[in-house]
Point group: D3
Chain length 240, copies 6
């Protein structure tokens, strides 16, 4: 039985198009043949989302991008803070996955305890709130900040991320690593190989998770809190 | 010792100017002499915020309004979902209070167990998440929806709110009532008198809470997660 | 790029071979071309696992079946109680998914609140413990028992399951339904269509989740609590 | 509109009258014109409450003092352990605030994460129980003991408190500081200035919080668990 | 090996000597030969403790009674609210058991889910706080109030308690019953026989638990938060 | 009144008969005259249970042993992980105690905060899950691993256990110590004396707790989740 065609809309809530390209490439490679990735970049906001205020703007922009792309089979919100995730789920009945949520689902599937490696220390409270929200706080042994900004990731910064990962494994008992930034896509392989534990930032896995939901016939609920808000035009948003 | 002048910026995250006026009047009456209330209305969004998607837009608009009003002594975000609250706290060192948060602080001060009376049933999951976030879920005996929209509040709808409140007290053991909507400002007195328990929607009390923080010298922290995001211009945002 | 071949070992911890066949068919259909499902049935135990004592026996049998099938690319434990899940994860570095865990991951991806529909009332405490363990208790609005045993599922019993599902949606605010039994595989479609919300028992979705983990290069951790127990022979258990 | 007169009864549950005077001065300064503070000192017990047994005695004494002062507009229990707080709320319908509870309300209003600075290490379990009770445990990054007793606070001890505060900010990520002792009233300003984050022990802010409740028409509930115990004489306790 | 003599001090925190006698008889019968029960009655307070204010007074009185009886091998605080329990543990290194705590330990030993049957509805918040404090909230399916006061227990009231117990088993899924009042001692047998599930109010079992701790050489810790408060005279309180 | 005879079945879920003998001796000494201990050793599995997979096998074996010994007055599962505990409770209405559960009940009776001393670091996640399950996670200040295997306990290893205990008291604020292994029975006295805090591994205390339940007439519930599974033969399992 041939796989039906599957179209994933990958939404990058920050404004950096090179991030978008890198994440789209990872999603495309993960999904393989018979899938198409439509990648969209925020038109307003910042190049690297590090704060709550920036995340608020990114969430509003994410909603706009989804409204402009109503026909995808599934959506991937490709920023670790999952900006606007619940709001997007009100706008469509296609599956919607956030890379933060996807990462935590992967973590608890491959390890009993994991650690989070992030960019700036100031983002730790937001991450801790997310761990609570997703019900995985009890499985997380710690959140370590590399003090490298989103925009400085790559190149030499890999060593710092790997070092933080090793510390998490050796000192905190982490058995897997959540890489808390869409910009860490290209670090996955290096961290896995050099630290020796499973690691992901949820872009490739999130694309596959969105596909798994869609392929098994699961759709975002359209009742209760996820019904389409009356203030939005339904005609343009739903597939027949 | 004369009270120093105190200027409160009341931000209405919805677009309904009559809501703004009603809430500003309540805040002004509560604060009394020696205080000034500057009331601002969202320029974009919906007249009654009932969903997560609408709340995302409201949060972005709230941030804009605060950036446009950098000199207030304190800010009151006058929508029960407290849209953008943590983001706003990054933008200013003045105290920032949300009416949802304020209401829950009042509830646990005057009762051991309380109930929440809201507008639409679809908003219950968002409210339950808020109860967890503010650490008061264990004190809440239930959330009751009247199925009256924000815009239909007032007039005959008072009876339905009072009836829900009585049910919460008689059947669920509520000892106080959180009125989960900025639009319920004028219902406070009716609910208190007819149900016989403390009740608030956090507008008047929130204005006083903001004043209490300010008057005791407390300011929003400027370190850690609440430091000003580098992507925002500090010069325009801080008072000397 | 052609999908690499993917072999899933589906372990049925109960002794009913018709259950195994039904679940294997669902997994095979979900995975599509380029995948192979090896289905294994417990040799000891009961035909329908309804109690903690029966689950203990099923867990031991599940471990045996995995030890006997060391070369799979991924494992799916196809009983909602996920018997022996953490133990199996010590024995292999291939991804291991339980259908209970998979179902809850699906629920929180497509809904803010869900309900669980189960067979016997006596199983409710075990399910509630599982909801806590997987960090989704706060998202679950209730567990409803149909009082139909695993072995009596199918045929007329569908109406009872559908009725329980409707009650969960209408009275409890469920937005999606977890069907808490491997034997409910063929009910998925009926429940989705007749209740109008997303529903799954995690067999088809779990097979796809296992594939998603494997395809994105994630493997079960081999450090910390998931290292191979020294008392077990490693040579026979790991793929090169 | 002139503020109505407001009378606050400040109850010091320890026996040290100089503590009472210091706290009353802070409350008076915070409330400003149009308010009167009646300060009462425990007649039995210890000069510095450091243990659970001492707190039990302080709670009973606090109840006595409130029963002897039935006509206040609001009550402030001025010991960080809030001894007898729920009991006092049964005796009066005036607002009742504890400085521990008030401090935690202030902390979560001005910071996402805070630390607690206390006197003796032995009090840490009691403080941790309080953090759970008030629903703020998830917002607290740590409790640090200075090993200075209540009675030795002041003078040289300020340096030790400031040093603990700095450690909390630099090493634990605290964004604000709870000063867990009524005797730390005069330390507030020094800690704020020298550590550079918001700090309070809840005396001045608690007085203002009590006023905010009262001024917005909120009264302690008189139904359910907070109804007047039949064993107490109602006539003497309630205002008309 | 003959049992060493064991002296239990049973503290009744209420003032009703017939309650004391009834509870002492149950403890004596449970402990059997080789044990002695010294029963003490509060000299101040109320005959039936139903509120937080009454519990505060009872706690202070309990401390007094323990200080007056320093030589017991173990202490049993025989009021379900365990008034003063942590305070008493600071005063002695003998084991100290509260009947509320003991009951919950029994419940989780003989059942996966239990219900609490109490006297007045107004006491429910206090009981729910206790369930949280003792870590058993997740095991409790509900708290049912009979609206019979402590003093009216016995005689005809047994039917009401039994009826509440049956409702808890049939409708809520309770597998055992906590009888939340020292005054329900003589109801244990009736409830067990007529409802058909394990039931206890912790008096007989608590006496045996205190003995079990003592007999296995366990003593109340004397370090950290349970060290003797310096304000109390150690000489009179400790056995050699 | 002479104590009725009491027969305790002590089940050692590992295969080491010297462990069984040591634990049986401790239980016999604790129970004293008028009690008989029947000690049973697992026939399959490992000599020291350190992993989840080993625990699964131990649980199945424990069930077998209990089914083979249906007439005991009470059962003690003498492995700290309490393998099969809920399953065993379905098979009998006699009281069933696990030494892990018993230890935690002792800890919270004699201390406000405790630490756990275990064998291998890899077992920490399993222990943390147990602390959550038993509702005592909030009372535990840390889990320390000695990196001594179960089989190497005794002799020189005592110093390492004592050192870990001292660290827990001095650095973490532990007030009592849980010794997380049935094989630590003979260490209890050394740890108590040399560290100076209460300590237990639950064998002696667990035997007494089982007796306390039995003696006070409490039996394992036979309704709800603990009813006898229909797949098991009731005739052989229950006493008349």
């Amino acid at each position: 039985m041939p796989m039906p065609p599957f179209q994933l809309a990958l939404i990058n809530p920050n404004t950096d198009e090179s991030d978008t390209a890198e994440m789209a490439a990872a999603a495309t490679a993960a999904l393989g043949d018979g899938a198409e990735v439509v990648a969209l970049t925020a038109r307003r906001g910042v190049a690297g989302i590090e704060t709550s205020a920036e995340s608020v703007i990114a969430a509003a922009e994410t909603l706009e991008l989804v409204r402009d792309t109503p026909d995808a089979d599934a959506y991937l919100i490709a920023c670790f803070g999952d900006p606007g995730l619940d709001g997007v789920r009100e706008l469509t009945n296609a599956p919607v996955v956030g890379i933060g949520e996807a990462t935590y689902r992967a973590m608890t599937s491959v390890a009993r305890r994991f650690a989070v490696i992030t960019t700036l220390r100031r983002g730790i409270p937001e991450l801790l709130d997310g761990l609570e929200h997703y019900g995985v706080a009890g499985r997380c042994v710690g959140v370590l900040a590399s003090e490298i900004t989103v925009e400085d990731l790559g190149g030499d910064s890999t060593d710092a991320i790997v070092a933080a990962g090793r510390r998490a494994v050796d000192e905190l008992g982490a058995e897997a690593l959540a890489l808390a930034c869409g910009g860490m896509t290209e670090l996955e392989t290096a961290v896995r190989e050099r630290v020796g534990v499973p690691a992901t930032n949820g872009v490739a896995f999130g694309a596959l998770l969105a596909h798994a939901l869609w392929r098994s016939g699961l759709r975002t609920s359209t009742v209760g809190s996820l019904a389409l808000p009356p203030s939005m035009d339904p005609a343009a948003l739903r597939r027949s």
